[in-house]
C-alpha cells in the first residue's frame, strides 16, 4: 500500500514537471478558450473547463503514467451505477438499436425535452443492416457471439457504456451514463442490443 502511494506521488510529480516543460502555449490556449466562447442552448460555458480526468489526458497527450491511470480509472469505476435490479439483461434490443442510431444529445441544438441517443453508430459497426457506420471505435458486430454471453461480459459492456474511461482512461468514447447522456434503462436496452443472442447483432 505504502509503495503504491509513493509510486503515485512520483508519477504525479513527473506529470507536474511535464506541465512546466510543455511551455505556456497550453495556458495561453486555455485563456483564449475562456475568452472566446458564449453559452448557447443547453451548452453552457462551464463546459470549457477541463475536469480532472480530462486535464490528465490533455496534459499527457492521452498517455498518462500507468499508476496515475490506474488510480483515476478506479475512481471512475467506483462511480459506475450498476443496474438497480441487479440484472444486466432484460432490455429491449429493438429500442437499443434506436438509441444506438440516434446522434441526439448534449449539443447546443438539442432540446432538454428530446430523448438523448448514444451516437453509437457514429463510431461503431453494430447491426448487420446498418452500413452507414463510423470507425473511431472497433466493430461491435457479433459482439456477444464472439466474446461470450456470460455475466462478466454483460458487466463489462454495462460498465463500458456507463463510463468508458473506467477501463481506458483516455478513451475516445464518451461516458454515456456518467455524463447523464443515457439513462439506466437506455443502457439496459443497449446491453441487450450487444448481448442478447436474439439481437440481430448476434443472430445474423
Amino acid at each position: 500500500m505504502k509503495t503504491q502511494k509513493t509510486t503515485l506521488l512520483c508519477a504525479v510529480s513527473l506529470l507536474a514537471a511535464g506541465i512546466a516543460q510543455a511551455g505556456d502555449y497550453r495556458s495561453q490556449a486555455i485563456a483564449l478558450i475562456k475568452q472566446d466562447f458564449h453559452p448557447r442552448g443547453i451548452a453552457t460555458t462551464d463546459r470549457i473547463h477541463e475536469e480532472g480526468l480530462q486535464a490528465v489526458c490533455n496534459r499527457t497527450s492521452d498517455k498518462p503514467p500507468a499508476a496515475v491511470a490506474e488510480r483515476l480509472q478506479k475512481d471512475q469505476f467506483d462511480a459506475i451505477k450498476w443496474p438497480s435490479d441487479g440484472k444486466f439483461m432484460g432490455g429491449d434490443w429493438k429500442k437499443g438499436e434506436k438509441i444506438a442510431q440516434s446522434g441526439q444529445g448534449m449539443a447546443w441544438n438539442n432540446k432538454p425535452s428530446q430523448e438523448n441517443g448514444g451516437s453509437c453508430y457514429n463510431c461503431h459497426q453494430i447491426g448487420p443492416k446498418e452500413t452507414s457506420f463510423g470507425t473511431l471505435g472497433p466493430s461491435l458486430y457479433q459482439f456477444g457471439k464472439l466474446r461470450g454471453y456470460g455475466e462478466d461480459i454483460q458487466k463489462y459492456v454495462w460498465g463500458k457504456i456507463w463510463n468508458a474511461k473506467a477501463t481506458n482512461l483516455c478513451s475516445q468514447m464518451p461516458r454515456m451514463g456518467h455524463s447523464g447522456t443515457l439513462t439506466e434503462k437506455q443502457i439496459k436496452d443497449l446491453v441487450a442490443l450487444l448481448m442478447d443472442p436474439n439481437s440481430p447483432v448476434n443472430k445474423e
Binding site: D36, S132, P174
Partner: protein, 288 residues
C-alpha cells in the same frame, strides 16, 4: 452522367442565389429600402444570370458568390462610405488580393495580432467602413436563402488565390505562437463528451458514419481544411466558409459556441493551414 449532376448542381445553386437576391430587399426594414436598393438587386440578379452560364460550363456554384463578393468589395459602403478595395489591407497591401488568401492567417502590425481571412475582412468593415462588429456577428452563417455579406466577400477574396500554393507565413513570433496555441486548442478535451478536435481528426482513415475524417495533424489531411473552402455545400445548398465549419465542429464537440471570428478560430486555422503549407489551393469549391 457526370455532366448531368453538374448541371443539376448549377441549377440548385442558381435558384439559391436568385432566392437570396430576391429576398434581400425584403429583409431590410421597409423604411430603409428605397426603390434604389431594389433596382440594385435586380442588376445583381441580371449579373448572376450571366454568371449562371459560366456555372453551367465550369460547374462551380462558388462563382455566383464571388460575383456578389466583388460587388461588395468594390462598392462604397457603411457609415464612412468607403470601399474595401480602397482601404482594406489583407497582408499584401491595400486592395491587393492576388495570393492574399493562401497567406492567411498572418500577422498584422496595425493591430499587433494574427488574423485569418474572414476576421481581417470583418476588421476592415468595422475600422474602415464603420460597420458594427456586433451586427456582423448577429447572423454570420448562410441558411436557406440568406448569405451573409462576409461569406460572399471571403469567397471573392479566396477566388484570387485559385491554383496558388498555400504559403502561410511563420516568420513573426506571433505567427509561430498562434500556430502553437492552435495546436493546443486542437488537442484540448473538455465538455460532457470529453471531445477535442483530435478525438475525431487525430488519426488517419477514420469515419463518422460515412463521412471521412481528415487527420488534420498531417499535411495530407490538413489540406482538407483549405481545399474547397469556402465551399458550396450540397447539404442545404448554401455557401459556407471555414468560420462555419469550425462552428459546427464545436457543436459536434458538445462545446458552447465560439464567438464569430474570434482569436481561438484564428489559432485553429493557423494550425491546420500551416500543416497544409506548400500544397496547391484550387479555389472556392463544393463540399458535401
Amino acid at each position: 452522367m457526370k455532366k448531368r449532376i453538374g448541371a443539376l448542381m448549377a441549377a440548385a445553386a442558381m435558384s439559391a442565389a436568385f432566392a437570396a437576391h430576391a429576398q434581400q430587399p425584403m429583409k431590410q426594414p421597409a423604411a430603409k429600402a428605397p426603390a434604389k436598393a431594389t433596382q440594385k438587386a435586380t442588376d445583381a440578379t441580371t449579373a448572376d444570370f450571366e454568371k449562371f452560364r459560366d456555372v453551367l460550363e465550369e460547374d462551380n456554384p462558388a462563382e455566383l458568390f464571388e460575383a456578389k463578393g466583388e460587388e461588395l468589395w468594390k462598392a462604397k459602403r457603411g457609415p464612412k462610405n468607403v470601399s474595401l478595395a480602397e482601404t482594406c489591407d489583407l497582408g499584401l497591401g491595400v486592395g491587393k488580393l492576388k495570393g492574399a488568401y493562401v497567406q492567411l492567417p498572418r500577422y498584422f502590425a496595425d493591430v499587433d495580432a494574427v488574423m485569418d481571412a474572414e476576421r481581417r475582412i470583418a476588421h476592415c468593415m468595422v475600422t474602415h467602413q464603420g460597420f458594427k462588429a456586433e451586427d456582423l456577428a448577429k447572423k454570420p452563417f448562410s441558411s436557406g436563402n440568406y448569405t451573409p455579406e462576409l461569406v460572399s466577400l471571403t469567397t471573392y477574396v479566396a477566388g484570387h488565390s485559385r491554383k496558388m500554393k498555400i504559403a502561410i507565413p511563420q516568420k513573426h513570433p506571433k505567427e509561430k505562437e498562434t500556430y502553437q496555441i492552435g495546436k493546443e486548442i486542437f488537442a484540448y478535451r473538455a465538455g460532457p463528451w470529453d471531445f477535442s478536435c483530435s478525438t475525431c481528426h487525430g488519426e488517419d482513415g477514420k469515419r463518422i458514419r460515412t463521412q471521412n475524417l481528415p487527420n488534420l495533424s498531417t499535411p495530407e489531411g490538413a489540406i482538407r481544411a483549405f481545399q474547397g473552402w469556402p465551399g458550396y455545400r450540397m447539404t442545404g445548398g448554401v455557401m459556407h466558409t471555414l468560420q462555419w465549419r469550425m462552428n459546427d465542429c464545436f457543436r459536434q464537440q458538445r462545446f458552447p459556441e465560439p464567438n464569430y471570428v474570434s482569436p481561438s478560430i484564428t489559432a485553429l486555422l493557423s494550425y491546420m493551414g500551416v500543416n497544409a503549407n506548400g500544397q496547391m489551393y484550387k479555389g472556392p469549391g463544393i463540399k458535401r
